[in-house]
């Protein structure tokens, strides 16, 4: 960060690497503009020969706005809930002494390691018994609490100096207020990271919404995408790639937005 390497050299290496990394991504976007015939051609073409928006048009024959808003509501609530709940718990685990702390941490971490598939059926039966089948809360509630988020926030708060806490106490700030007024405002970078990861996880979640939702009014984008692109015997590749491109766009926007907060960083918030 201090003495500059030759930025041109670094940039050349990075650009080459970048090209390698985004090739599949580019192929997806370009493919969404091709016809099924061209997509199936051997050898494959790179640039669409006769670019068409037909795939997107066919996509919008369906209630796409509904799927979109379902996905957005679920992802936003899940993300907000995760940020709040796991930063509270993560902070407590990192800096406070309270009963059963280690036990709780171990239990939560333990559940991070249990393959999600095992709990699938019991969770589903639970949601149905709570009368939540085919509702948006059923898509939200089980994901509000994720061991991964707690783990991340705990590690993050561990990295913040304990002196802040001591100073707050000396100034007579209440224990809970110390968290909300002193530590939480510093959590920007961690929130950006966790926010992106959680949003992404929720946005792309497939199996759970597929099973829990049983009408189009609660379908999310990935479910809708799987629905329209795979027949019993044939895949409509153009439609699939168009749908995948559209699903990615909002995430790109979210990522572009959040990464501004990255740049600010901890140093910029003045705690060092």
């Amino acid at each position: 960060m201090l003495e500059r390497r030759n930025p041109i050299l670094t940039n050349i290496v990075l650009l080459g690497f970048l090209l390698l990394v985004i090739t599949p991504f580019l192929w997806m976007v370009l493919g969404s503009l091709k016809t099924q015939g061209e997509l199936l051609r051997v050898p494959p073409t790179w640039l669409p020969e006769e670019p068409t928006l037909g795939n997107f048009r066919r996509l919008f024959d369906r209630p796409f706005a509904k799927f979109f808003s379902n996905s957005a509501i679920v992802a936003i609530v899940v993300t907000a809930g995760n940020l709040l709940l796991s930063s509270m718990f993560g902070y407590a685990l990192a800096h406070l002494r309270f009963p059963f702390k280690k036990l709780l941490f171990v239990l939560v971490l333990g559940c991070l390691m249990i393959p999600g598939l095992v709990t699938f059926i019991p969770q589903y039966v639970l949601v149905v018994n709570l009368g939540l089948a085919d509702t948006l809360p059923a898509l939200i509630l089980p994901f509000l609490v994720q061991p991964f988020s707690v783990f991340l926030m705990r590690q993050f708060f561990l990295g913040l100096p304990r002196e802040l806490l001591e100073a707050g106490r000396i100034d007579g700030v209440g224990e809970i207020a110390i968290f909300f007024r002193i530590y939480l405002p510093l959590a920007g970078p961690a929130f950006a990271t966790l926010g992106i990861l959680t949003f992404l996880g929720s946005w792309n979640n497939f199996l759970w919404p597929l099973v829990v939702s049983s009408s189009e009014s609660t379908y999310t984008l990935p479910v809708a995408l799987a629905l329209i692109s795979t027949g019993q015997n044939q895949t409509d590749y153009g439609l699939l790639l168009a749908g995948a491109t559209l699903i990615v766009l909002p995430i790109l926007v979210v990522f572009l937005f959040f990464q501004r907060y990255f740049i600010q960083g901890i140093a910029a918030t003045g705690i060092k």
Partner: protein, 314 residues
Amino acid sequence: MSTSTTTAGTDGRPAAAGSRRRSRRGAAEARAGVLLALPFVLLFAVFTAWPVLQSMFMSFTDMRISDIRTPFAVDFVGLENYRTAFADPVFRRAALNTGVFVLLGVPLTITAGLAAALALNTGVGRLRAVYRVGFYSPVITSIVAVAVVWRFLLQPGTGLVNTVLGWVGIDGPHWLGDQRTALLSLVVMAVWRNFGTSMIIFLAGLQAVDPGLHEAAALDGAGRWRRFVSITLPSIRPTMLFVLVTTSIGYLQFFEEPFVMTNGGPLNATVSASMYTYNQFGFGNYGVAGAMAYLTFLVIGLVTLVQFRLMREK
């Protein structure tokens, strides 16, 4: 139910019980801790811990899909399901594949992620945001699209990879159809898909590195590598531990890649423990599937424990 005991216990009471010799501040701290933990713990008990307990019970019974309406009217079979899992040659193969996948994939992913984060943290100028988004694009691309694109890229005769290899005179193999290269292809694909995640976590972690230390060390004549080893690495140790643990856990459960790309073939060369478990669920063998999942869990637990020990926190 034991979990709910825990929750109830956390709720206020122990503050009194534990306050033997603690100051009033200690009690206040404990109360705050409990209050901050409570919302998460309650939801967690209902939506995660309880289903986990149920599934654990399942793994010791002969439960099949036909028992699902009467989940307790099943026979307790002890460790029989675990024995079945161990005796299954495909499951053993799956365990081996998973091990290879983790041993190759985790170091590659972490190295790639850290290298990218370090590179972006030095002066790369205006393109920084472009790189960041570009390197992250595989993570945000839906697995459905990833599968389609990669299958095209890895096509034996006409795929992009073999076309490029052909330019330099190499006759590329049938990547996904050949037993020797199939798992390797999936490792590369997984690294491609996941290094962006570790990159952004490292980027956040690198913010915590004190630039003053670097400057001082540079003045003392420490080289770049030396500074990386003795300043950067120690500073990002919590981040490193986090990335290591979560990547390992994720890779030990690797599922999506073979599920969408190879379905475990050719000749079980890419079948993974999680995928095989999933198949057992699909067949309705809940008891055996539960046992397999908990075997995976045991391995994950051990690996995580070792990682925590090796990178012990103060």
